[in-house]
Each structure stands twice: as structure tokens, then as C-alpha cells.
Symmetry: C2
């Protein structure tokens, strides 16, 4: 956690040199991290609750979500301070989801370390996720003083929608796995991604940033389109990295999605384009409990995804969403005065595809 | 779900005959149930989310918590309608906790049916609990129109405190079990009960009822004492029923707490008063994973609890809290005009001890 920045060193100061994308991301993180740390209650029970919260939050991610919130707030002429509590709450909610998702998906690695439930057991992990969720609501109380009770409620409504959409997307995904649904189409996948990824990771961070900047609540539709297209590109790329990344860079087990039987765009493509024999073999593999899926079977699925062009297909679809996101960026932010924050929102579109982590 | 009541049929109408405690409880439930049902989104995904939510909510409990909220609101001169959204949200939050607690405790029965995770698996159960938690926040939005944004935020703060206290109490209990802590004292137990039971089941329902009735936020301390003493008596009695009740009446597996290794007042008493040999045997039993605890070992623990007077001791402690709760009732509600709601809050103290379910 860095020292607090003086106004002159702020990345939106016109006198500063043009900051790189990574430097901007770090500067947003520096604004939000103290608020996140401060949200952890300094009291018992530590060993079985708040130490776990702190441990999970310290596995800091890249901080895309709070960055989007603050950048959008400043792009619309708002002050970063007004966005900080909301950005911190978004990151807390994100961590709450991660912990529960890892339990629900049976994931073993997160940010290159064993998942919280692998380290501390499912009971404490579920409870710790609940705590971070409650902490997010608590942090939002600061909005009362910053933007007044009526607008603070509007922000809370965004959180409420964010939570329920994410939970619905997760239910879709878990349901497909539980029922071994092998007819999931690419359209089904894209709806799940809108619900599970786009709303909470992209659309709402932008909307909330605009709201605390004083933007009209009824005038947020174009942010939905920017966040939707960008988030979809992000998730497809995330699925590709799960297959092709290196674990040290990516932080999760490589091929973990295949082990978990996740319905990705690639798997939907493979199921759609495979002959009867391969399809039956895929269905049998996906119908097994996770712990009975063998590494050589996972390797076979990977080989099929590559050979059938499913990975290339996903790359192409992702690039299509990137092109749309660029157009939405122009429509939404193109007429605003340029500056480091608007530049960041533009650069994020490329970063989503070009990342290796 | 009954039809909505006309004002004349309202239990607080002075012209009505004196209603029984059970009739009052049913009348509060009739006010709140429609709001709970209406909170379930009528959209997909149903099979893997909202059908599970509906299924869990339909296993309706006795409805003590919403009843406390509405009764306190009316006792302080407020209108029941103003308390209904908050009471519904309390019941949703309660159900969210139940589902996660059952996962965390490895419980097998709830309200005489298999727990949600036993029926649908841990992943969907954890996600369904998250949904009911988010739905609770959504329902509270109605307070904006009923009591204005500032007081609606005060109610939300009560919810926030309610959640985090409950989560802290659960962390204490899970931590004792995970670490096989055999030095848990009766004082530790009572602190855990304050956190895990009293705040969310008794204190906050009363405080929120008073708040929506227009009571001063700074004048709620005596409600804390009423809820604390009543809630402690309730939980000790709950633990006793877990050992001595009949499953059909009580709805959970009898002796389940011993299987789960729960640290109760009775177990703390037994550990404190046992000789070295029994204590070592108890410690060895509690140190095993749940699935390796044998029914004959559970029977032995039960026999020791009875023989050592641990159950009688717990009954006596519970009776002490009932006496305190009656004194707190007099201090808090004694000077208010009598009526069915005030009578209900008085009768609840006896009902907590005299129940068999």
C-alpha cells in the first residue's frame, strides 16, 4: 500500500507525464487499497475470520473493477474520493464471490496459491465469503456523506442488481455442470457471461463511477454496452488463458476449466462441430464426477479443442467483441475531454485481449 | 398464504377478542408471507436458483423474527405496514444463514426434511444462500418510500451489524470445532450466542421494529437487553431440545449437535466437571471427523450429559435468563398501553421456554 498521493502527483493532473496503462492501474489501486484494508474490523474473531479476510484480500488481483469505477467517475468530471468507497466495496464483493465460486467450482488454485477452502476448509471459507459481502455493504455507508442518502441508495441498488445477476449467472453455470447439459449453445454461454461476468466486473463499476460523479441515473445505457462488449471479450480471453496460459502467470491451474467441466464458448463450439463418436466421448467425460476425470482425458479434450479450431474460433469471437467495445468506447467517452482516465478506459480494451494473466 | 387482512380484522384492533399467542404468531406470519413470496424474482434461472429459494422459504419456520419486528413496531405506536418489508428481509436473511450454516455444520435435517445441500449439493446451496441474502437487501428498498432515505439507511445499518455479528459468532463456533477446543467456557459460549443468535434473531428485529415506528435511534438500548436475555434463553433451550426433543416436533436430527461437536453450555459444563478419564474420552471423541463419530459414542456423551447434571444445569441457566427477560420486558414495554402486541412480546418470553419445537 503506497502513501496517499498529493493532488499534484495525481494521475489526472495535466502536468504529469503521460502515464502507462500499468502505472494508471497501479495508481487506482493505491487509491482503493487503503479503504479496503481499513474496512477489515480490527477485533476478534481474528484467527477464524478476519485473518482469513485479510489473507484473501492481500492476494491482490489486478484491480480492474475499482480502476473502472474511478476512471469512469473522473472521466465524467467527478472526484476520485467520491468513488473510493464504492470501488472498495466492488472489490470486497468480488472477493466474496471468488471465495464462494471456488467452493462451488471445486477450484484448487487462485492467484497461484491454494484456494481459501483448500487451506482452511469449506465451512470457514463460506463464512469468510459472507463476511466480505457484509463488509461491502458497510463500506457503502460512506456514500451518505459523499453523495447524500438518495444517491447513496441508487448506488446500493446497483450493488443489489450486481449481486443477483452474478448469482443467476453462477446458477446457470452450476446447473449445466450438475445436469451434464451438453446442448449448451454459444448464445447460452454469452448470456451466462453477461450475467456472471459483465454486470459485476464491467458494467456496474462504470455505472457506479458515473453515478457518484453526478451523472443522471437514466443516462447510463451506453455504459451498459461498453461494459457488456468489453466484459464478454475479457471472459472469453480468460477461458482461453485457462487452457493456454502458464500457471505462474495466470495463477490458476491450467486446464482447470476442463477438469471442472465448465461450459465455455470453446466447449460449446467443440460439441456443436464434433462427430457422434467424439461427442459421446465428451459427454461421458463431462458426466463423470470431477475427481474421476483423468489428466489424459483432459489432455484429449484439449487436443480436440485445438484440432477442431475451437480455440481459434473463440479468439475470433473475442476480437469481434473487442471491435464492438472500441466502437462503444467512442460512443460513450469519445466526446469527453481526453486525459489519463479516458485514455485508460480506451487502453483497457486492448489490455483485456493482450494480457497473459 | 392467507388473504390480506382488513383493518378491522387486525389483531391490534381493540374490538377483537383477546387472541392467543399462536393466533398472534400466525397473524404476523400472514402479514409477512406475501412480501416474502413477492420478493422471489419470477424469472430464469428457476430450476437451479429461484425454485430452490422458493422451496427453502416454503419450509416456513415459526416466524419469531418477523413477529418480533412487527409487534415491537406496533407496541411503539407504528403501523404494521411500515414494518413488513423489514420483517420480510429479516426472514430472508435468516434463511440465507440457515442454508450456509447447514453447509458449514454438515447438518442433514432442517425442519424435518433433508437440508438444501443434502438435496441439491453444496454448490447450488451456497449460491442459493447468497441469493436470499441479496434479496433481503433488495426488499429493504421499500423503506425509502415508507420512512424516507435517511431512516431507511438506519435500518440498513442494523442489517449490516446483524450480518457481521452473526458471521462472527459462526466463526467462533466453527473455530472451536475445527481446532477441537475443549477449554471453551460457559462465558465463551454465552458470547458466541449473543453474536450468533441474539443480535439477528431477537435484538435487531426489535430495534428495527422500533426504528420504523419512528423511535429515536439513540434510545434502543433497553431493547438490546430484552433481546439479549430472551435470545440467550431461546438458544440454550434450542440446544436442550436438540438432545431431548422428538425429531418430528423439532425438525432436526436429535443429538445432531453432539454429532457435529457443537460447543454448547451443556458440553462446557460437562468438560468442566468431568474427571480426567472422561475428559480425555470426550476430547478424543470431539477430535474425530464428524463422519467417524459413532452412534454409540454419541449415546455415551448424551448419557454423561444427563448423569453429570449438565442438562439440568442448562435448564437452570435458561430459567435465569427468562427471569431477566421478564424484568427487561417490564422495563421496556411495561409503561406502554397494553394490547395484543405488547401481550405478545410478554408471552414470547414464556413461549421460548415452554416450546417443544
Amino acid at each position: 500500500m503506497g502513501p496517499s498521493r498529493s493532488p499534484d502527483a495525481s494521475p489526472s493532473s495535466p502536468s504529469a507525464a503521460v502515464p502507462t496503462f500499468d502505472a494508471m492501474l497501479a495508481s487506482y489501486r493505491d487509491l482503493v487499497t487503503p479503504a479496503i484494508i481499513a474496512s477489515i474490523p480490527d477485533r476478534e474473531p481474528k484467527k477464524h475470520l478476519y485473518a482469513l479476510v485479510a489473507e484473501h484480500l492481500a492476494r491482490s488481483g489486478k484491480g480492474f473493477r475499482p480502476a473502472l469505477c474511478i476512471a469512469t467517475c473522473r472521466a465524467f468530471g467527478g472526484r476520485a474520493e467520491n468513488a473510493v468507497p464504492s470501488a472498495a466495496a466492488i472489490e470486497l464483493l468480488h472477493n466474496a464471490f471468488l471465495v464462494h465460486d471456488d467452493v462451488e467450482d471445486g477450484s484448487e488454485y487462485r492467484r497461484d496459491r491454494p484456494t481459501l477452502h483448500k487451506q482452511h476448509g469449506v465451512p470457514l471459507a463460506v463464512n469468510t465469503g459472507d463476511a466480505m459481502n457484509a463488509m461491502a455493504i458497510r463500506v457503502l455507508k460512506a456514500n451518505l456523506a459523499l453523495v447524500g442518502p438518495a444517491r447513496a441508495w441508487r448506488v446500493l441498488e446497483e450493488f443489489d442488481h450486481m449481486s443477483l445477476e452474478t448469482i443467476e449467472g453462477q446458477a446457470m453455470e452450476l446447473g449445466w455442470i450438475r445436469d451434464n447439459d451438453c446442448d449448451t449453445t454459444e448464445e447460452d454461454y454469452l448470456l451466462m457471461v453477461l450475467k456472471k461476468t459483465c454486470w459485476y466486473s464491467f458494467i456496474h463499476p462504470c455505472r457506479i463511477g458515473a453515478l457518484v460523479a453526478g451523472h443522471e441515473p437514466n443516462d447510463l445505457e451506453s455504459l451498459n454496452r461498453y461494459g457488456h462488449t468489453l466484459g464478454t471479450a475479457f471472459q472469453i480471453q480468460d477461458d482461453i488463458l485457462n487452457l493456454t496460459g502458464s500457471r505462474t502467470m495466470y495463477g490458476k491451474e491450467i486446464g482447470g476449466d476442463i477438469f471442472e467441466g465448465k461450459r465455455t464458448l470453446m466447449l460449446a463450439h467443440l460439441l456443436r462441430t464434433s462427430g457422434a463418436q467424439d461427442k459421446a466421448r465428451l459427454k461421458a467425460f463431462l458426466g463423470k464426477p470431477r475427481e474421476r476425470r483423468l489428466p489424459r482425458e483432459v489432455a484429449w479434450v484439449f487436443e480436440r479443442l485445438a484440432a477442431r479450431g475451437s480455440i481459434d474460433h473463440a479468439r475470433q469471437v473475442a476480437r469481434g467483441f473487442v471491435a464492438k467495445a472500441l466502437a462503444e468506447f467512442d460512443a460513450t467517452f469519445g466526446s469527453l475531454p481526453r486525459g489519463p482516465d479516458v485514455d485508460f478506459l480506451r487502453a483497457l480494451v486492448d489490455a483485456v485481449m493482450n494480457r497473459s494473466t
